[in-house]
Symmetry: C2
Subunit: 290 residues, 2 copies
DNA sequence: AATCTTGCCGTAGAAAAACTAAGGCTAAGA
DNA sequence: TCTTAGCCTTAGTTTTTCTACGGCAAGATT
């Protein structure tokens, strides 16, 4: 009999959150990204939880984890619980007198598309502070405290989505390279690549029926906007996503190298949380972007 | 624009749990007890949450806290969310090959009533490890990971409760004091008190119509079982709860000083979680105690 | 076959969070 | 007026959590 009557403790909350994320993604790396920590942290949380429960929750394979039978049985409960918590957290945030309006989007969209539109919206809502967070993968709006997300992707049923633009690509370059292109075609120009859209050149050359020497060769950039800047400076041609480069084409700082726009099958999609979790301004802001 | 794209963080989980507890009890002290920490810890959590939200959640008064308008609006969401989490946590625990069977009860019951009954049950379930946690206030079975609770209290509707015994009290003392009692009545004997049942002597004297010089005077003990031991050793008379002292009376180590049993209006109550959260053995164990 | 790449693990040390302890304040009630 | 109950604050300690980095194994690539 212990002298200090310590109640039996439940499992650590943060470990449960880590499990929730890891289970939804079936990946420690993806969970780590969502929670903004390193995969090692997730690994430790899961291990702690497994120790507490006395049962393995994941089967570790070399190229990824997989939920065990036991683990899979828990996912539903945990997802439901943390969904509920997210609702509560959002309610808490919305109490604040003037919470930031949080927008999640791709780095490229944040840099090339959003500023122009956001300026208009800021003017309409001068009292609201709009924050933009750039990320590679769309967040779950039912989980994370974003009020609006803009990403490229296929339209999905059942969520609050608006298609802003079809995603189409066409090669563009600086006007100074135009002459060289007229002479040698694509062979005379370096192809610039963005790492997250590494297949753009291949996709376009196949769909447009334009043969290219090597669709993978050429300088690679970690950010699309960097590649665009380089292209404007004359470093080569980039596969332009029309919605991202149209302003440069209009102003003449980039010129088209083809009349053919190829659809990527995706679209520029605006997504907002489900109704119950929207802020009063959300709908209005979405309409101004659409 | 920050270079490291840090996602906006939600409120700290532990702070939300502290809020949940504090809001349910409308008391930091009670919340602290439930979570097994000091009130200071709760205070800090709440302050952190208020800072995060930018809104006060509690109004601090000298003799207790009170939820603000804002705070009250959140309670429902948080209670629901943490209820869900408790369900998930229980599911997690029940995965374990052989989890302890957790029993919550008053210290006095744990020491004076439970051992006899538990012995029987341990014999019937030799493979199960029964853990007993003593506490002053019944836990919420939908929140904490107990499988069974035994407390004195009024029967309530709608929960899974079984009345084990009516709670009745009657004064008892060691046989050696009997003679003195015959001569001088209660005036010749010290009255022993347990701090959690400080009014027992008053209650009995009024209900039984027996006048006592001072129902509050006499040695006080923090544990009822300590007072019982002192009484057995001849230190004075104690107000015996029949279900707790009957064995000593039967064996002769304590003797009754009155024929009058006074009902406290309470009962010895066994409570188990709602069906969906019970373990397979729960019902059976409860029946063996009843 | 050799080499990359991906995604996990483990450990050590560093950083951050959570907790306790102790002293103080205020209002209610004796 | 004194006591009690209940909260607060602060400082310091303990515990938890995170990162950094080396390693390993299975597919993929050359």
């Amino acid at each position: 009999m212990s002298v200090t009557p310590r109640r039996p403790k439940g499992p650590p909350l943060n470990a449960m959150r880590a499990f929730d994320a890891a289970a939804r993604h079936e990946s420690f790396v993806a969970a780590a990204e969502e929670l903004n920590v390193t995969p090692g942290a997730i690994s430790q949380h899961i291990k702690a939880l497994e120790a507490w429960a006395g049962t393995p929750l994941f089967q570790r394979n070399a190229q990824g984890v997989q939920l065990t039978q036991s683990g899979r049985a828990l996912v539903g409960d945990f997802v439901a619980a943390f969904d509920g918590l997210a609702v509560a957290a959002r309610a808490l945030r919305n109490l604040s007198p003037n919470p930031d309006f949080q927008i999640a989007t791709l780095p490229s969209i944040a840099q090339l598309w959003l500023p122009k539109h956001l300026a208009r919206i800021r003017a309409a809502f001068p009292e609201i502070n709009f924050s933009v967070t750039a990320m590679e993968t769309p967040p779950s709006l039912s989980r994370e405290l974003f009020d609006l997300a803009i990403f490229f992707g296929p339209l999905e049923e059942g969520s609050e989505q608006i298609c802003l633009r079809k995603d189409e690509i066409t090669p563009v370059c600086a006007p100074v390279l135009r002459e060289r292109f007229e002479k040698d075609g694509f062979d005379g120009i370096a192809l610039l690549h963005d790492q997250t859209w590494a297949n753009d050149w291949t996709l376009w050359s196949e769909a447009a029926g334009v043969a290219l020497a090597d669709t993978q060769a050429g300088p690679k950039f970690s950010l699309y906007s960097l590649a665009v800047e380089e292209a404007k400076a004359g470093a080569g041609a980039i596969m332009g996503h029309t919605c991202l480069v149209e302003d440069f084409v209009a102003s003449g700082s980039l010129v088209r190298l083809s009349d053919v726009d190829v659809s990527t099958g995706k679209a520029l999609i605006l997504e907002i949380p489900e109704k119950a979790q929207q802020r009063t301004e959300t709908k209005h802001v979405a309409e101004m972007l659409g």
